[in-house]
Symmetry: C2
Subunit: 191 residues, 2 copies
DNA sequence: CGCCGAGTTGAACTGAATCAAGAAACGTGG
DNA sequence: CCACGTTTCTTGATTCAGTTCAACTCGGCG
């Protein structure tokens, strides 16, 4: 997948970007191809980049008492970064790893700020992403707050019916805040 | 509390706003004084406004199976709106109510968009708020995902030691995703 | 073929919810 | 300032959803 195709994909998925903006974006980003199960952001590091998932699927996770807890998924057409580190400039508490073979577009915070400064439509894209992410988080809070394990799973299936085919159940379970065993029982409806 | 004082408070709390911007803001906002326990946003309505809490404390809540569940608190110096409705233009699933007597600055979405268009520093203020809210939600997700009731309470006390003096425990409990009884037991350390 | 990671199943355990009473604190009016 | 009703909080007993631990199954892959 070429850089131009990916940028094209962004404009289709979100808002159209002017030719000038697309060119500047191309010049300040790079495409990375990564194999399955590869950590490309590591806890403890400063994460200065955002990634657009052109192909594949990735997840952010952290270790809680040695246990792998998934915090976020991003599929093709979505952006991801290590939020805390990216915005607060602290070491990342999260890892981000590929779940499948991936093609990502990597853009540094510096580049993003410059592009936002220069191109209004790019700035607006950034705002749109912030708002979406915020609303998604908000919905997740509600789900974690008072839903049963079963309801949590069903909500997820509504939003992402394909997730079960693509992501190991362990990660889905921790994302939902339940154990693998409970998820397994829910799926076989013995609960 | 006068409108000018409140706008002054915003510039101190966040970023300084130019005189022109402050003037435009004053012309497109209004101050509302509300008594304790007053719903000023109601579920089912379209919420076109954001509020700056100049004095007092408010909470967003929803009804889950007839039960009052607190979703968010805002204290003086913070902004609040019915996120879903404000950004997605759907009927609000949330109520927003005062917890104490309050002075709020009310600004319509229209006004916010115009001010953001016209004044760069106002636009940036908006972005700052989005980022902060997103990061706070993110931390809340982690807390709800795998912390024990006790840990959740302690995290909250770290961030907001004063909350217990100001907000009824029922609301704190539902905010944390636990029951009032459990919270009570945690507080008296019999658990 | 045999191993290994992913998922399933079972049984025992537990943290927190639920249900049910009380006790304190709070405010309002006599 | 006190009696009251109301709301907020505490405490206890019981139940239950979900965890934990452990064994087992299955499907791929070297």
């Amino acid at each position: 997948m070429s850089k131009e195709e990916i940028i094209q994909q962004i404009t289709e998925q979100y808002a159209p970007l002017s030719q000038a903006c697309q060119k500047d974006l191309a010049n300040s980003s790079r495409v990375v191809y990564l194999p399955k199960d590869h950590d490309f952001v590591r806890a403890g590091m400063y994460a200065h980049e955002s990634f657009f998932v052109a192909k594949g699927c990735v997840r952010a996770y952290y270790l809680k008492d040695g246990r792998d807890v998934t915090d976020w998924f991003a599929f093709e057409g979505e952006f991801i970064n290590a939020m805390n580190s990216f915005f607060e400039e602290v070491p990342s508490p999260y890892f981000i790893a590929t779940v499948e073979n991936c093609a990502l577009l990597e853009i540094s915070r510096e580049a993003i700020y410059k592009l936002s400064e220069k191109h209004k439509e790019f700035d607006r894209l950034g705002t749109t992403l912030l708002v979406r992410t915020m609303l998604r988080l908000q919905k997740r809070v509600v789900s974690l707050q008072f839903e049963t394990a079963q309801q949590k799973y069903e909500s997820l299936l509504n939003q992402r019916p394909d997730i079960v085919q693509r992501v190991p159940l362990t990660h889905i379970a921790s994302f939902l805040g339940i154990t693998l065993e409970t998820l397994s029982r829910i799926r076989s409806k013995r609960i």
